[in-house]
């Protein structure tokens, strides 16, 4: 029968395609394995060392117990400082990132050159990690939370700028056209035709960066940029391990609370 022949043909086609897929998966698997081995050599990955190091780890953990609870009171100020750093480091970039994003988004940018320059600026701000920004800024403006805020601001500016201009570029061209047709200026076109619809995306990415900055600001203390991270670094380098573990517990707790708060805010806004 013709139908039997057709079935045979389809089956042959399907099986050939499946064979092809299998071969591709195999090749990708081999390549990934090779890369992992290469990376392991380069980074001196050594399981034996890890096993030999375990007793020292337990010993350190033992010296951390019990946590130093009386020190909690003196940790409140640096903890608050960390939260304040994150708050400022997220809010300062919002208007600046919005402005940069409007210059960068190709559909509302005044000129392709402006757009290209704004994108390069946003990308370079984002590429430099906040820790590196902090190291540079500590040298420039001295120790303390202030260089930390600046570091978070610069990195967040790069991150939010990208989120914002992508949201703007994804907005409806019809709306922009409709606003232009009313005789609205470029600013008004963006403010009425683009902003209302991208607002949820912008708020969501801003919340994401607020969470991110709360985590990042705890680490910034490592390079002397204030907050609970600085207290942790001091405790570790002075071998006050019980105090160090108190800092750690506090950090984990506060970050958990902030994640919850952020999730709640997100559900309320969007």
């Amino acid at each position: 029968m013709a139908s039997a022949a057709a079935l045979e043909r389809t089956l042959g086609f399907v099986m050939a395609r499946r064979q092809e897929t299998r071969r591709q998966v195999l090749v990708i698997g081999v390549v990934l394995l090779g890369l992992a081995i290469w990376a392991g050599r380069g980074s001196e990955f050594n399981i034996q060392k890890l096993i030999e190091g375990l007793p020292k780890f337990w010993e350190l953990l033992g010296r951390m117990m019990p946590p130093d609870l009386p020190v909690l009171k003196s940790l409140m100020k640096p903890l608050l400082e960390t939260l304040q750093m994150a708050l400022l480091g997220t809010t300062i970039p919002i208007p600046v990132a919005l402005l940069l994003a409007c210059l960068a988004a190709v559909n509302v940018s005044p000129h392709p050159v402006v757009s290209a320059v704004a994108r390069i600026l946003i990308a370079s701000l984002r590429t430099v990690p906040e820790l590196v920004w902090a190291m540079i800024l500590v040298t420039a403006v001295g120790l303390g939370p202030f260089p930390g805020v600046l570091a978070l601001t610069l990195h967040t500016l790069g991150g939010l700028g990208k989120f914002y201009y992508e949201a703007i570029e994804a907005s409806s061209p019809g709306l922009i056209e409709a606003m232009q047709a009313t005789g609205a200026s470029r600013f008004k076109v963006i403010w009425f035709g683009v902003l209302p619809n991208v607002l949820p995306v912008m708020m969501s990415s801003t919340l994401f960066y607020w969470e991110y900055n709360n985590r990042a600001s705890t680490v910034l203390g490592l390079v002397g940029a204030g907050g609970i991270g600085l207290a942790l670094t001091h405790a570790m380098s002075d071998f006050r391990y019980q105090e160090a573990v108190t800092c750690l517990i506090l950090i984990v707790l506060i970050l958990a609370v902030i994640d919850r708060l952020s999730a709640w805010l997100r559900s309320r806004i969007i």
Binding site: S172, G174, L175, E177, A178, M179, Q180, A181, T182, G183, A184, S185, F187, K188, W191, F192, G193, P196, N197, L199
Partner: protein
Amino acid sequence: MKVANSRENMVEVHNLTKSYGGNAPAIRDISLTLKRGEFVVLLGPSGVGKSTLLRTLNFLVRPSSGTVVVDGQDLGKMSGGQLLEARQRIGMIFQEFNLVNRMSVLTNVLCGRLGSLGFWRALTYSFPREDQERAVRALERAGLDDPEMYMRRADMLSGGQRQRVAIARALVQEPKLILADEPIASLDVIMREQIMDLMAGIVKRDGITVVMSLHQLDAARKYADRIIALSAGVITFDGPPADLSAEVVARIFRKKVEAGAADDDGTAVKMADGNG
């Protein structure tokens, strides 16, 4: 010499050509004159340059060559600011309505006042009382007289209601000319008639000139004072609906026949008529 003519002419277009990139021009060497208070329909299947021609009339699309004179003013000779001012007198409505879904109906209509709104007022989304009055009147004129609806989000409305909001947004500009780009293509049959009746009333009662692109032959015949048919970027017919013979119709929609491989011209016209 044009100034004298401009008194009665709403739009004068001379030798207008627009090409996108290296492609064949979307419209080619078009010249036409539209009188005040005319209901003009640009007729033709999609892809013949209707939308492009329409958008050159408010310079949303800048022509490659040629001049556009609206209400006696040459758009091509204007500064950026002057062009924005000229656009305030040219309303526009669209196939997909192009309302800001997350804003209220009233705020959407108020957008028609953006051209004259001050910077700080725009920044804070606060419109003066006169503008709000104008917006309410425009909504009523467009057939939405339930204030309950005004504060609802635009995406809560039906298609026909949304197009009415878009018409109100154009009306609140207090325009002399309204450009309508396939305004009934996204609507069902009953809504189509209501919107066309409304637009015809805007021409007759409010004295506003309307230029509308359409691919529905029936609607064009019924409502237009004047039909201009386009085909491959040039005008192939220009006259009152009465002059639109079956022969001419067949010519206008010929492309459609070939593309759709329909049996005869009658089918093709129906196809063009029914397509949303």
